[in-house]
């Protein structure tokens, strides 16, 4: 899928963006508007939660390692007040050639998401339908919903 296709689909379903850069999102991030850059993932989630209270549909782009900093915001804001959010998570460290510092997260990301009751939509399996389905889950059903992006799913 090209970054253009992904961004077009995403901007149909979400209208407010934040996150922390990852090389997987290199071509996506500059095209998202409005984009509110955060310093840490939990603050991106919290800003998105605030935008939801102003009737926006936020999408937050993070690396899988950013889940570590995100969980307290997801539990203490989105889950507690039953406000959905669309997460877009790059699953770094799954591939043989990726650098060693990503491996721990690559091994555990899906298990962690399942453990935390976060509904996942795999971009590799679902293609562009993943965006529509995840957005429906986030904004109609008010669930924390994550699109999982594997390296190579979107052109870099």
């Amino acid at each position: 899928m090209t970054s253009h296709q992904f961004v077009s689909e995403l901007m149909i379903h979400a209208d407010w963006f934040s996150g922390i850069p990852d090389s997987v999102f290199k071509k996506i991030l500059p095209k998202l508007d409005p984009f509110y850059p955060a310093s840490r993932e939990n603050h991106a989630i919290a800003m998105g939660f605030g935008a939801s209270l102003s009737k926006k549909k936020p999408a937050i782009l993070i690396q899988n390692s950013g889940l570590g900093l995100s969980l307290d915001a997801l539990f203490g804001l989105n889950q507690l007040y039953e406000v959905g959010v669309l997460l877009i998570i790059s699953n770094r460290g799954e591939l043989e050639w990726e650098e060693i510092q990503h491996k721990s997260w690559g091994k555990r990301t899906m298990d962690l998401l399942n453990l935390c009751n976060i509904t996942t939509f795999d971009l590799n399996e679902l293609g562009s339908c993943a965006v529509e389905k995840a957005a429906k889950s986030a904004f109609n059903d008010q669930k924390i919903s994550a699109i999982i992006v594997h390296r190579g799913n979107i052109d870099e």
Partner: protein, 150 residues
């Protein structure tokens, strides 16, 4: 000045504001003072994230958003201070008693050297009474939505 007086003064200063309070004693006291029927959002958790919630809310509203949080919360949210420049319609108040009053009065390290012109730091003494447990999150968010979106 105590926490009660500080909250009352800030609310009076922003008659058209939408207010967000940080978890712990600040929310507990504010909900006891102000109730649910108004533009008040009370955080029950999300320590260090109050300012970010306010920034996100302000980014999508034309009204003034007022964030009120304790100094322990503010310290945890320090990395979100630069994002204040993304929104103009936000006022930020830190109620500074130098401690984590909710968890037993442990010291908060002084970080007032980092303050800038957007930071309104108010030194407070703690009230003697411990406010009751706040209402459940569903009631808080439903009341808030009704108040600001109708």
């Amino acid at each position: 000045m105590n926490r009660t007086e500080a909250i009352q003064n800030i609310v009076k200063k922003h008659p058209d504001g939408i207010f967000i309070f940080s978890n712990g004693l600040t929310t507990r006291l504010a909900v006891e003072l102000l109730g649910l029927d108004g533009p008040f959002f009370y955080l029950l958790h999300g320590m260090g994230e109050t300012l970010s919630v306010g920034i996100g809310m302000a980014s999508a509203l034309s009204k003034e958003v007022v964030v009120i949080e304790g100094d322990g919360n503010a310290l945890m949210g320090l990395a979100s201070w630069p994002q204040m420049q993304l929104v103009k319609n936000l006022h930020y108040y830190i109620l500074d008693n130098g401690k984590h009053a909710t968890t037993g009065g442990q010291s908060v390290i002084d970080f007032s050297d980092f303050d800038n012109e957007r930071i309104n730091r108010i030194k407070i003494q703690d009230d003697l009474n411990i406010p009751p447990i706040p209402p459940p999150p569903k009631l808080i968010i439903e009341s808030f939505r009704k108040s600001i979106h109708g």
